[in-house]
Structures are given as structure tokens and as C-alpha cells.
Amino acid sequence: MNFYDFHVHSEFSEGESSIEEITRRAKLLGYKGICFTTYLDNKNKIKKTKEIALNLSKKIGIEIFIGFEARNMSELEKLIKSRREYDVLLVKGSDLLLNRKAVETKEVDILTHPEYNRRDSGFNHVMAELATENHVAIEINFREILNSSKNTRANIMHKIKNNVVLCKKYRTPVIICSGAVTHWQLRDPKVLMSMGCLLGLELNETKKTISEVPENIIKMIKERRDEKWIRPGVKVVR
């Protein structure tokens, strides 16, 4: 089975470790591919990041993708316009309106931690239905759990469990990512799967969250790289 981690920050965004350190650690832990996530401010660095990623991908033997994480509405709109320039579009959850916009948008691949910094879970049944319709995966962020403790961790896990219940009911894709900002925060795929089980997913569902769901996103990435692709659902036939 192929495992993927689609939310990792390198030194080119808010991360501390270099792309090489992260890639080598991911290979050691048994991943087949990872996605380096960055912000719109670093768009001028994307060429350099892509170059390094391509060289490392060949050298180490791991698939590397480049993703952008939108932090607000204006960033999301700008990123949608330049959707062809990068592989994965993530939306940083927390604001309810932004969460809603993310699940309504076909171009978005992942809504990261919708419950982040909120008193509620930041996700509801209407959003779950929309996310299923538009193939937007809802992320369970391991770093959120790792970096918290005691009552904060309990609250975060409670909110994630609520979101998992909704996702299961509406068959919304769920993706578990490490959200690592250093290579020390990358976790073994089995650890992520076990955490998924504790958060209310069945064993076969947790396997899907780090293998099948990312593979579906990769399928979309490959479609998008095709010259005939115009926008989600539209491509040149002849």
C-alpha cells in the first residue's frame, strides 16, 4: 500500500527543516509521496522549490508535490486563478465563512483543520454534503494533537471526532496529515492510522485516508497537468 502525507511545511514556508531533510525522513518512514505546502507570500520562491523538489524526487525516489495553503478569501481567489501553476490547493480552516467557501469550491483539494482555534468544530452537515459533492477532503491534522496537551488536546480531539462523525455520515473524504513543520514532526503512517482509529474511523477507512484519498488527489493533479484541461469538469475533447 502507498502512503502519502499532503501537508508538510519546509523552510520555504513556516517550516524549520530543509526539503532534503524532510524528504529523506519521509522515505525512511515509508511514504511514497509528500506535498510541500507554502503560502501565497512565497510564490516567488516556487520556481526554486520546484527545482529542488524535482532533483530530490529523482535522487531519493519519492514523489514530491507542491501545494499552496490559502489563509483568507482574497488569497483563495488569487490561488484559484493560477490553479495550473501548482499541484494541491489547501485552505487553512478556522474562519466559518472560509471553511464554507472552501467546500463550495471545486478547485480546492483539502480543507485543513476546520476546527482550528474555534470553540465549535467549524464544520456542519451542509458543509459535509458540499465537500462530498465537490471532492474536498477534510483534514485531520496530527500536529494540532501533538503540540497540545491536557484539556486543550481533549477539546481538539472532541471537535475532530464530531467532524469525523459528519464525514462518515455524508461520505466526505477524510485525509490524515502530519502538518509537520520540521522533519521531527513527520510520523510513521501506522501512527497516523492508529490516531484515525482513536478519532472514530474504522481501520479500512483510516487506510483510505492516507492512501486512497491522496491517490485521488494525485489523479486530479495529473489531469490538471494535461494541456486539454481548462477547469474542473471542463476539458478540450477535440
Partner: protein, 107 residues
Amino acid sequence: MREKERYIAFQVISEEDEEFTYPDLESAIWNTMLDFLGEEGVSKTSVWLLKDCWDQKTQKGILRCNNKSVEEVIASLGLIDRLGDNRITFKILKISGTIKSIREKLC
């Protein structure tokens, strides 16, 4: 009634290949599990770090737990990010129902 056991082989990956001793690791695992699962939760796992299977050179070891608590134990291992002043990560090598097959993997 005798409960079914599972053995989890793991490797500790650390900065500059630091060599940790059995008591270091044992206390880190117990503290994290007690924090995360609570005393009652840990009592259900029957977790034990096998002393004679801990290899300080290769930093490989075996954890024993019951078959219903494998997920809890592995998730707890993932929450250990430091051992003393060193940053660490756990790599899960194999999960097995018999110690014989898991020893073959480690050797």
C-alpha cells in the same frame, strides 16, 4: 481467561544517533501513555516494554500489549517527540501475534 497478545516492533530515530537506555525509554512511554490515555485507559492495554528485547545499539525494541489496544499504544508512541533533550520519532517495524516472528524481523 488468558488474553490475546500483540507484539509491536519499533525503532527509535534520534538526533545524531543518540543511544537511549531501557529505563529512559520505559519512563517516556509510561509518562506519555498515562497523560494521553489516563490510568484507567493504560490498565486496559496491558502494555509492557520487553527488557531483554531492547537493543541499545540499533535502538530497536518490542512492546507487548493486548490485541484490543494496538491502536492506542501506537498512537501514544506517535505523541512522544522528545526523550530528555533529544528529539525522537518512532518507526513501527512490524506488528505480530507471536514473539517468534517479530524476533526474526529484528535480527
